[in-house]
């Protein structure tokens, strides 16, 4: 079946512009996670959705970052007034439920470059 789909795969934007990153999780997966992967770094957890609800948004790097999920499916991560330090690969993962029995399945990410 289809895996986690992310779009666009690559995005180049100018500093100060807004960008929107999209994640289509595996059908039926209720848990959705966003991570950021910077060059040479591990994966930094940003936010978790159970259904359409995000219990804790404190992992978002700044108030320029926001995320939403609609219909228990598609999620978007929006970065306003992008800065060069926002350049990274943004990864989305989903699982059937938030438990150790349900491994995270990752998409291939969106590579964001802020010039």
């Amino acid at each position: 079946g289809a895996g986690v789909s992310q779009s666009p795969s690559n995005k180049v934007t100018e500093k100060g512009k807004d960008v929107e990153l999209r994640c289509d999780p595996i059908s039926g997966h209720t848990a959705l996670y966003w991570y950021r992967q910077s060059l040479g770094q591990g994966l930094e957890f940003l936010i978790y959705f159970q259904g359409n609800s995000a219990p804790d948004k404190s992992g978002l790097p700044s108030d320029r970052f926001s995320a939403e999920r609609t219909g228990g499916s598609v999620s978007t991560l929006t970065i306003q007034r992008t800065q060069q330090e926002d350049s990274a690969v943004y990864l989305c993962a989903s699982s059937s439920d938030p438990s150790y029995n349900s491994p995270l399945h990752f998409g291939n990410g969106t590579r964001l470059t802020v010039t």
């Binding site: 848990a31 591990g42 699982s95 150790y100």
Partner: protein, 115 residues
């Protein structure tokens, strides 16, 4: 702060050799310890995982060794092959109402298996 520490940062192994990657964690509430494999341009993919009630798990050429008292776990790749060349991430997680089963990742190990 980094909740999972991983070493080495990079590793070169000859074909047929054993690759060993080590990780350590602090949070005793963690109860799930997966290893992910990532190829360039792709998202991480689950390789093998262990829970703290066992000390070792083997799947094919891949083995996780787990030491609960030392809060350490390691990945052993037997008979390493050039196709194993990738970045490997250890991770740890536990149930959390705010973050689901979000994984806390190490910074990764870049493995190169030479012919």
């Amino acid at each position: 702060q980094q909740q999972v520490k991983q070493s080495p940062q990079s590793l070169i192994v000859q074909k047929g050799g054993i690759s060993i990657i080590n990780c350590a964690y602090e949070n005793t509430a963690f109860d799930y310890f997966p290893w992910y494999q990532q190829f360039p341009g792709k998202g991480p993919a689950l390789l093998i995982a262990i829970r703290p009630d066992v000390s070792e798990k083997k799947e094919g050429r891949f083995t996780i060794s787990f030491n609960k008292s030392a809060k350490q776990f390691s990945l052993h790749i037997m008979d390493s092959q050039p196709g194993d060349s990738a970045t490997y991430f250890c991770a740890a997680s536990g149930s959390n109402s705010n973050s689901g089963y979000a994984l806390n990742f190490g910074k990764g190990t870049s493995l190169l298996v030479t012919p």
